[in-house]
């Protein structure tokens, strides 16, 4: 019996280890060909890489379609945070003052339409970022000289001083108004994709742009699906940046409910699903298909974002009351249990650069959350004078949002508010919540990293300049604006140029300040569970590109 128990324990430990390591498992020999079949509950709008901010959904696709001057290494684990040259032949030369980045453009790379990638395309692509209203144009790219004017008058954007092409030596130089420690990261994400100069200066919508990567989109219908085929013009120039793909085709089917996707994968009719498997299938797949499950740490936060500009959440006491009242363990239970998420109170995800455990909204305030404090929450509500206020919790209709929304309604009612749930299509929820004209009081979102630097969360989501009233592209959903915190962010950004460790300390302080102001009720840092078919091999999880589609092959 003991022997049996020990064996079982060892087997379970091995099973757990294999399932939780977020890197590629040793697989059989690579196989080329076949069709990789992906499933998702719904599409996510535009496939314009200069506009789409679908970091978890479309960005992994964009990473195998288009290239920037630099990109993240297509590898598993920690190395995937590294930046490597992509369309640039080498890493840039950076001036001592940190204001000038000079790249040499790689020669001989062609778009899928047969045109060669030129310096003109590089300049035009960065001007296009402003012309099409990139959601981060004012926050990330206005640091380029001329960027400010481009933000003000996008249609006539000119970066003649900011992005200077030198045809003679084949280089392009970025002149910045001030040093930016994260600038290379901002060039490495899909927003930095180089598209042909003649690409229309407006949202491409469902029309795919010409590709430089190993695949190109041949059809896209948000109601049905997306098809990718090999880009005939693609040749490997840097294995780290853009490896060739093993599969010949990638077919993404939309409108596949997660429960159906699980069954399809079990029956080998699908290879991978974007959405998390439904909670009531977890027990089944974790016991019957453990070798098809990959659990990966993710730098993301699941949070209730409160609108700090309208009642009742324009009152800090109410926001803090919700933070004290919400039972993060309950929210984690909805997500799938404690093995799939870590409770969190602050903005930065657990183990993210700059993360220092901080949870003032706990029965025992400290580094970690230790349980809700309803008494404190109710006392804050009494003080706020907002009891009886009506609140609408607006959530998307996919994933755990409806269930978590129901739970939030319950908590808010418990606090004396009159809360109701409004479930809208997940297709539009993200943009709907961003537009302040829609007066969303509180919503739920999973916020994913764009790159592994604290500014990516704190500056993008909480800087005054990332709140654009009346715009669908306003990632500061809470409309939070604190000039003192903004000043601290600026200091931290400057420090990052010379002393990364000191910068992280400063970002940590910013994180704690924002946590104290409570524009969010952060619930947990989710882990990513991928359920794949038996025939899918060489699953490779990158921190940036998630599953690297070009790395997998089919048995």
């Amino acid at each position: 019996m003991l022997h049996h128990t020990v064996c079982r324990a060892i087997a379970m430990a091995l099973l757990l280890t294999s399932a939780t390591v977020g890197v590629a498992r040793a697989e059989d020999k690579p196989k080329i060909g076949g069709t990789l079949r992906l499933a998702a509950a719904s599409a996510a709008g535009t496939i314009d890489p200069h506009i789409s901010y679908e970091t978890g959904f479309y960005w992994p696709i964009f990473y195998v379609l288009n290239d920037g001057l630099v990109t993240f290494r297509k590898a598993a684990g920690e190395p995937s945070n590294d930046i490597v040259p992509d369309l640039a032949s080498d890493m840039p030369k950076i001036s001592e003052d940190g204001k000038t980045y000079t790249f040499k453009l790689r020669k001989g790379v062609k778009f899928s339409n047969g045109q060669e990638v030129t310096l003109r395309d590089v300049v035009a692509s960065f001007e296009r970022l402003f012309k099409v209203g990139n959601p981060n144009s004012s926050l990330w790219y206005s640091v380029i000289k001329g960027g400010d004017k481009c933000v003000e008058t996008p249609p006539t954007c000119s970066l003649a001083e900011g992005v200077v092409a030198n045809e003679a030596d084949g280089t392009v130089t970025f002149n910045l108004t001030q040093p930016d420690a994260d600038f290379l990261y901002k060039l490495a994400v899909p927003f930095g994709s180089i598209l042909p100069a003649d690409t229309q200066p407006s949202d491409l919508g469902t029309t795919p742009p010409a590709a430089t990567g190993p695949y190109m989109i041949t059809s896209y219908d948000p109601q049905r699906g997306m098809e990718l085929k090999r880009n005939p013009e693609f040749k490997v120039w840097n294995e780290d940046a853009q490896p060739d793909g093993y599969v010949d085709e990638i077919k993404y089917s939309f409108g596949v409910k997660p429960e159906d996707a699980v069954t399809a994968i079990q029956n080998d009719q699908m290879d991978w699903m974007y959405d998390s498997p439904p909670a009531d299938r977890l027990k089944e797949i974790s016991s019957e298909s453990a070798d098809q499950i990959y659990i990966n740490p993710s730098f993301a936060m699941y949070a209730a974002e409160m609108n700090t500009n309208i009642a009742p959440f324009n009152n800090k006491d109410v926001r803090q009351a919700l933070n004290f009242a919400v039972n993060r363990r309950a929210a984690i239970n909805i997500y799938g249990g404690p093995r799939l998420a870590d409770a969190n109170c602050q903005v930065l995800p657990v183990d993210f650069p700059g993360y220092k455990g901080y949870c003032p909204y706990s029965k025992n305030p400290g580094e970690k959350w230790g349980g809700p404090d309803m008494e404190k929450a109710k006392a804050l509500m009494e003080r706020s004078g907002q009891i009886g206020q009506k609140v609408t919790v607006t959530v998307g209709d996919a994933g755990v949002d409806p269930q978590t929304g129901t739970y939030l309604v319950s908590v808010l009612n418990d606090l004396g508010l009159q809360a109701t749930l409004k479930v809208i299509s997940a297709n539009i929820q993200w943009t709907y919540a961003q537009n302040s004209n829609n007066n969303v009081q509180i919503t739920l979102n999973t916020l994913w990293q764009d790159y592994a630097a604290p500014a990516d969360f704190l500056q993008v989501l909480f800087n005054c300049s990332s709140f654009h009233p009346g715009s669908d592209a306003s990632p500061n959903i809470s409309g939070y604006c604190n000039n003192a915190v903004d000043a601290k962010m600026e200091q931290a950004m400057k420090a990052a140029l010379t002393d990364v460790a000191a910068s992280h300390e400063m970002w940590s302080a910013v994180d704690h300040d924002i946590t104290d102001d409570a524009p969010w009720a952060t619930l947990y840092s989710p882990k990513l569970l991928y359920f794949v078919s038996k025939r899918l091999k060489n699953f490779t999880y990158s921190n940036q590109a998630r599953m690297v589609f070009s790395k997998v092959w089919l048995d």
Binding site: D280, R281, G336, G337
Partner: protein, 380 residues
């Protein structure tokens, strides 16, 4: 069709007003017993009926209904369901001891003295997932918990309240509207009939569920404004109004047909000839005959209303949270079909039983008020 001369020639036409042909024999005279024999037979029966059965038509129908065992059993079942749902608050307070509208995702209960998590983390395989507690078959969590850790049994009772209220109220609304429209349209005729009939045709042109779903989707975000009255989107009045209205043509049409026949019947013509006011004719001569038809329709319409309400609520466009109905509970259970199927099955069974009972009762009521049945009884 019985002619005026037939009736006027019959001595029975001289009976006092209190003994004038009631709605049952009038229906027979006009619609069923078209032959002179039947007519004669009917009036031959009357004295005998009067002698053996001094009860009025309502009592006669009621006694006939009581003899229908299936209908009585259905009524008893329905009464039990209504009483059960009426006891929802007592059940939640004293038996389940939980708030069925409050999430309880991190709670515990005691089962046989042992603590049990309401949402238990799974331990098999990779240990992923959290499963709500299953049926305990005791007071607390009798039928288990849903995905929010709420007591399914308590929610079933509260949900039943709303489902039955919506069904009853929408049926009442439908019957009143249909009764008025059908009667006015059939009796007044002319332009009024044309306009009302075309309006009914327009509603009838839509598939019933498509119309109900469309109206619900449109109104669920803003609510319904009727003159100075506003029905908010989370009010039960919204599904009541929508369901009540979409079924109006299905009842109003037969009523109109019946009124058209009644309007040409002897006793109505007699009233007209005597110069009775239209309102009096409608109230005293037409309405009593129409009411029985409406009563026959009532159980059937209630069962249809329950099904429609459940469908709308299942689609999130009927009863709105935090309120529950059997339809919303089925929707809650949809995400637990693999681990806790009872969450969806229990309200499904409740709907099936209620609808079956209403249909059986409806058949019984129809038979009780059916003139053929009366003739059969008379012959016997």
């Amino acid at each position: 069709m019985t002619t005026a001369s037939n009736t006027s020639a019959d001595p029975a036409s001289k009976v006092p007003e209190a003994e004038q042909p009631n709605q049952f024999n009038v229906q027979i005279a006009n619609g069923e017993a078209s032959s002179a024999f039947a007519q004669k037979r009917l009036f031959q029966l009357r004295p005998k009926d009067k002698g053996n059965n001094p009860r009025g038509p309502w009592k006669t129908a009621f006694s006939r209904l009581l003899r229908d065992k299936l209908a009585v059993a259905s009524f008893v079942f329905l009464a039990a369901i209504v009483l059960s749902t009426a006891s929802a608050t007592y059940y939640a307070d004293h038996i389940s001891q939980t708030d069925p509208f409050q999430s309880n995702l991190d709670g515990q209960i005691e089962i046989n003295g042992d603590p049990a998590e309401i949402m238990a983390a799974d331990s098999e395989g990779l240990g992923l997932g959290v499963t709500p507690i299953g049926p305990t078959w005791t007071g607390q969590y009798l039928l288990g918990a849903d995905a929010q850790g709420r007591d399914v049994a308590a929610r079933l009772l509260y949900g039943g309240q709303n489902s039955l209220i919506v069904a009853f109220a929408s049926t009442a609304l439908c019957l009143v509207l249909a009764g008025v429209i059908g009667t006015v349209s059939g009796f007044l005729g002319g332009i009024v009939d044309t306009i009302l009939s075309r309006l009914l045709d327009i509603i009838w042109a839509f598939p019933i569920y498509l119309l109900a779903i469309s109206l619900s989707i449109v109104l669920i975000s803003t609510g319904l404004q009727i003159g100075p009255f506003h029905i908010p989107s989370n009010s039960l009045l919204l599904p009541i109004t929508i369901i009540g209205v979409v079924y109006v043509p299905y009842v109003a049409r037969p009523i109109r047909g019946q009124v058209l026949t009644l309007a040409k019947s002897d006793f109505v013509l007699a009233s007209v000839c005597l110069g009775m006011p239209t309102a009096r004719i409608l109230v005293r001569d037409i309405l009593p005959n129409v009411v029985t038809t409406l009563i026959v329709f009532a159980p059937i319409m209630m069962s249809l209303s329950i099904l429609t309400e459940s469908s709308l609520s299942f689609l999130s466009i009927g009863v709105q949270p935090p309120a529950a109905s059997w339809g919303t509970i089925i929707q809650d259970g949809q995400g637990l079909l693999y681990t806790r199927p009872l969450v969806a099955i229990a309200p499904g069974l409740a709907i099936i039983i209620t609808v079956l009972c209403l249909n059986f009762l409806g058949d019984g009521v129809k038979d009780a008020f059916d003139p053929k049945a009366k003739l059969r009884v008379g012959k016997g």
